[in-house]
Symmetry: C2
Amino acid sequence: MGEQGSRGPAAPARLRAGVPDATVARLPGYLRALRALADAGRTTVSSEALATAAGVGSAQLRKDLSHLGSYGTRGVGYEVAELVFHISRALGLGRRWPVVLVGVGNLGHALAGYGGFDDRGFSIAALFDVDERRIGERVGEQRVRHLDDLDDVVGAFGVCIGVIATPAHAAQDVCDRLVAAGVTSILNFAPTLLRVPPQVDVRKVDLSNELQILCFHEHRKGFALVEPLLDESMTGEVSA
Amino acid sequence: MGEQGSRGPAAPARLRAGVPDATVARLPGYLRALRALADAGRTTVSSEALATAAGVGSAQLRKDLSHLGSYGTRGVGYEVAELVFHISRALGLGRRWPVVLVGVGNLGHALAGYGGFDDRGFSIAALFDVDERRIGERVGEQRVRHLDDLDDVVGAFGVCIGVIATPAHAAQDVCDRLVAAGVTSILNFAPTLLRVPPQVDVRKVDLSNELQILCFHEHRKGFALVEPLLDESMTGEVSA
DNA sequence: CCGACTTTGTGCATCCGTTCACAAGCGCGT
DNA sequence: ACGCGCTTGTGAACGGATGCACAAAGTCGG
């Protein structure tokens, strides 16, 4: 993607196209912090205050926001409502996004009942499973449908986001069917690497991975206490 | 930090201490891919094959592994079992880590029943909630205990990892109690930013965040189809 | 109307992570 | 025994992200 030439002063310098991934990943956090501030009655907020509320540095916050445009007032700060609007629009939350969820086991139930969906901008278009015993079961406002109906639902609602909450062994097959039906963004809770065509985005959430990462740091903390600067030669030959 | 002089062949150059975070975050993925290979009967694997299985580039895999040591054989590849051992050890998975889970709602149930825990290296030391109606309920092999018992359990099992699966409004309080009890790593499923002392690690998993990030890319795809190179001037004045 | 104070937006330097490309090392066939 | 081909490990270039520090720009009080 070639974005060049921000030099032209006549052009309003729209760099909307080039929002770095790292920034995008933080925008939802800013949005949440802003909503909390709005609920608390604040109408304006400084970069310092918002950054603290979102858990980042103020310089980083300003740089992130600068990628969306100049929506602050120097000497004052940002207007909360305005910033919410602009961040929402940058994230594409202007419309309501229908989402399909596949796999209505323990996790699927939890996700379907989670506030995170209907909360802001997302609605569950349908729940799917392949287990005959679950078909027809009511979960929230939806009834569980058979995965074979996927194409119909995706077509009818214009769904482009799918959530996979199946066991690992079924995930790739479900993924393929989602992609075939036209879904182009997938959130995967199954502990498997999904193979998808290049135009499809996948994000993975894996409990086990996260625990192992925490575990590493915990492990290091332990060593930091006992032997701050020694290398661990004695643990080098446990095998054999 | 100062690793220079690979010229000295006598010094074994132990850089175990300096494993980059980005590398650590990928190690669990390598581990999973290696286990899959082992289950398939493979005893050795090249960086190219393992990288493909883990969804990364081969150069990145080799560099990541080089941070743990030199456990490959040139011209051959890596021995699967050996690599599993070394990565496991680097992650601190040599022992079994007890974990406490707070919040036994929909999500808590799902997490407790998830294979990811007992699967590899983790075991649930106890489940906690504050809702009297849930105290005593059996979930898996555990009974739900009251959060007031937290200190006892953490002390008795030497727990240092806690998982928060409560509603957002309760998360900070639960977090404080976990930290006070001695927990130093927290996996947070509640959509809130947790305030913790600097020595405590927090990782956050947020459904809504992930969906919004996907949403952004989906949003961009839509524009890419309609107007590949135009900037979106007409969407600039939706307000007012 | 002006000057002092506040806060944004951003150039710049730095750091970290990724990728390339290749020399070093190992096994194998002859 | 020896060279050939394969794969690792890593130096080095590259690109992106982070944080600092300050000029630009606005508000507010006098």
